[in-house]
Symmetry: C2
Subunit: 238 residues, 2 copies
């Protein structure tokens, strides 16, 4: 299936992201069946591939812990970061389009993911899990769209503020402090994903650090003035 080792997974009942995943609406009894269907990856180290572009896509994944990035290679050799994925979020759905992954997924640090094998999906329908999966996919879709709207803004400050705002929402949904963001990605990855140069990203973050809007501590970014960030980002009507 892919490069990573899978094992019988640790159990949805104990999963920290259970409330966000397929298990969300299932009964305790159904959880046991889900445990037989879903496979969790062994803990992956920084830089390890969950799958590579071109691999057969027999499954897609839900992040259980850690953060993954997805990348595509450009014709001139460097890589383009298409997304960052946090616990409870879907990775690799696009592979089901033609049975091959079009991008590669890489762990940004210690991380685990659960494989949802496509061939097993009918068993999940039978459990009544279709609504959960559809909701998970729809949330993914909404998130992707919000990112795209944000990306189409041309000013760097708006893009970065919007990205951080979305990250705050995703972090809050996980039950963590939304003002303390886990950002294990490099400036280069971040810039690539935002479609900016790393110098520009660095400049904007430095400016915000000097004005007390944020505080950066290597791999975590603390939001000191959330409202300042929110007012910089694009506002959508309720």
């Amino acid at each position: 299936m892919s490069l990573i080792s899978l094992r019988h997974h640790e159990g949805c009942a104990l999963c920290p992201t259970r409330g966000l995943c397929i298990a969300r609406d299932l009964s305790e009894a159904s959880l046991g069946v889900l445990d037989e269907i879903v496979a969790t990856s062994l803990p992956m180290a920084k830089g390890e591939y969950l799958y590579r572009a071109g691999d057969a896509a027999d499954a897609w994944y839900v992040v259980r812990s850690g953060v993954y990035k997805t990348i595509v290679d450009t014709a001139d050799g460097d890589e383009y970061v298409t997304g960052f994925y946090y616990p409870g979020e879907i990775v690799g759905l696009e592979g089901a389009a033609d049975g091959r992954f079009g991008e590669s997924a890489i762990a940004l640090g210690s991380a685990t993911a659960c494989a949802v094998v496509i061939a097993n999906l009918p068993r999940i329908w039978a459990l009544g899990g279709d609504r959960s999966i559809l909701r998970l996919i729809a949330e993914h879709e909404r998130n992707e769209k919000a990112l795209r709207v944000n990306m189409s803004q041309s000013r760097a400050e708006v893009r970065i503020a919007g990205f951080l705002k979305l990250l705050m929402e995703r972090t809050g949904r996980l039950g963590f402090d939304p003002t303390c963001l886990a950002m294990p990605m490099s400036r280069t990855d971040l810039a690539s994903h935002l479609g900016l140069t790393l110098e520009c990203v660095s400049r904007v973050l430095s400016r915000w650090r000097r004005s007390g809007v944020i505080d950066t501590d290597r791999s975590t970014l603390r939001i000191l003035k959330p409202d300042a960030l929110r007012s910089t980002a694009l506002h959508l009507a309720a």
Copy 2:
């Protein structure tokens, strides 16, 4: 369900986009059942809403004919175009995230769409249509991601060329001439979707028209030098 009138639909067997939709992998017998599950909208006129932001999202849609745009309203009053949708493409999937549409869908001209009622999905699973739906969703996902990668480019020429390149691919998939693109949207809508000003879009298109790369004829855009466009757009490795 929404603002539009639905009627028992015209039959998947006769649908021009049958090969792209849920019906793709179904047997003739199953098609008849699908006809009972899916509802086609009455022909909609330019400007009509398929659904509005805030409406209950009991279904999502597949475009049968024409083109739709989806929009969100910004806090300062104007609208932002989040997508254009051609026959065989999914609209409104994001509504399933919380049961309410977060954006509005509007016909750009005479158009029809088929409603896939979420409550009926188990009946489609039973037909063996789950694989088709997943593939449809995955193609949608892949398309969205390609658009986002394209959008993150900062140069206007690259963004516009990439958008046209994607539109060529989508048009070709429908069985139409990929060098003759249906573009019923206004320059304002196009610019909004691309995250550029309409002046900038106009300038780039004028430049390409003068250099013989394209030819614009009101609502259709003819590509005269596809390679010139492809080389301007972002290249991804195979």
